[in-house]
């Protein structure tokens, strides 16, 4: 029985949507690779929130497990990504994302 002060489910989803868009914004407008990377993490977090909200909606634990996997994979991705960033910085002495544009035709 929901108490009087319960929150509509949609708010959570809207919140995660906004966070996701903030992540996109960070990705599009920041120039520092690390910041861009962090924006990706932000998007992942937003998605996790959605997962968990829906697993609340369906009263099923699978959403939790998905977001658990998301976290784990995010950890792996962070390790590799930061290693790449380190290497890039070693070779180019720069973290500006637009200066690393040599991978093209």
């Amino acid at each position: 029985m929901p108490p009087a002060h319960a929150v509509p489910l949609n708010w959570y989803l809207i919140l995660s949507a906004i966070l996701f868009c903030l992540g996109i914004a960070g990705f599009l407008y920041r120039r520092n690779i690390i910041t861009v990377f962090m924006s990706i993490e932000l998007m992942l977090n937003a998605v996790n929130l959605t997962f968990i909200t829906f697993s609340y909606k369906w009263k099923a634990v699978d959403g939790h497990i998905f977001s658990f996997f998301v976290m784990v994979v995010a950890a792996a991705e962070a390790a590799v990504g930061l290693a790449i960033i380190l290497t890039v910085f070693k070779n180019r002495k720069s973290l500006e994302i637009d200066e690393i544009s040599s991978m093209k035709y």
Binding site: P2, A6, A60, D98
Partner: protein, 166 residues
């Protein structure tokens, strides 16, 4: 009570998120990201995902973000210099995201019943036991595969970050 908690922490998450985007210094962005994560952890608790809240703190805030900060310190990354962004991005970005957000909001409003409510304790199934059992029965294969993935990631990171690369 729930409403208050939700509003407070949602607000924190939002402000930190915005701060992440507007700050030019990576450390500030990192801190605000940590803020977002902490706030989200509380929201997870409200949604009954206590284990994930803890995991969020340990894995994201405690490990991943520490790595980020570590790297930022290591590279001693300063604030961004202002360079010209790509025209396309500059023009397309904001309207695109506005549309994106609008559509998502519309879909959520249209598809989901507004009657659906969330309150603390409404879903008790978020404890470690409730997650562990399906994780090691139904989701065993994904679990193992993920562990292999992590192993590979570790190796990759070590190989990439070796001195004698370059």
């Amino acid at each position: 009570m729930d409403t208050v908690l939700f509003l407070v922490f949602a607000l924190i998450a939002l402000l930190c998120g915005i701060n992440l985007v507007v700050q030019t210094h990576p450390i500030s962005s990192a801190l605000s990201l940590i803020g977002v994560m902490a706030a989200l952890a509380v929201l997870y608790l409200l949604l009954g995902a206590e284990f994930l809240a803890a995991a969020q703190m340990i894995v994201y805030a405690g490990a991943i973000m520490v790595l980020f900060i570590f790297v930022i310190m290591l590279l001693n990354a300063g604030a961004e210099r202002v360079t010209k962004t790509r025209q396309l991005v500059k023009l397309a970005g904001v309207p695109l995201m506005a549309v994106f957000l609008g559509i998502i909001a519309f879909i959520i409003q249209a598809l989901l019943p507004k009657s659906q409510l969330v309150w603390f304790g409404g879903f008790p199934g978020g404890g470690p036991r409730d997650i562990g059992i399906p994780l090691f029965t139904n989701y065993l294969l994904p679990f193992e595969v993920t562990s292999v993935l992590i192993l590979i990631a570790i190796l990759g990171a070590i190989v990439l970050a070796r001195k004698e690369i370059d």
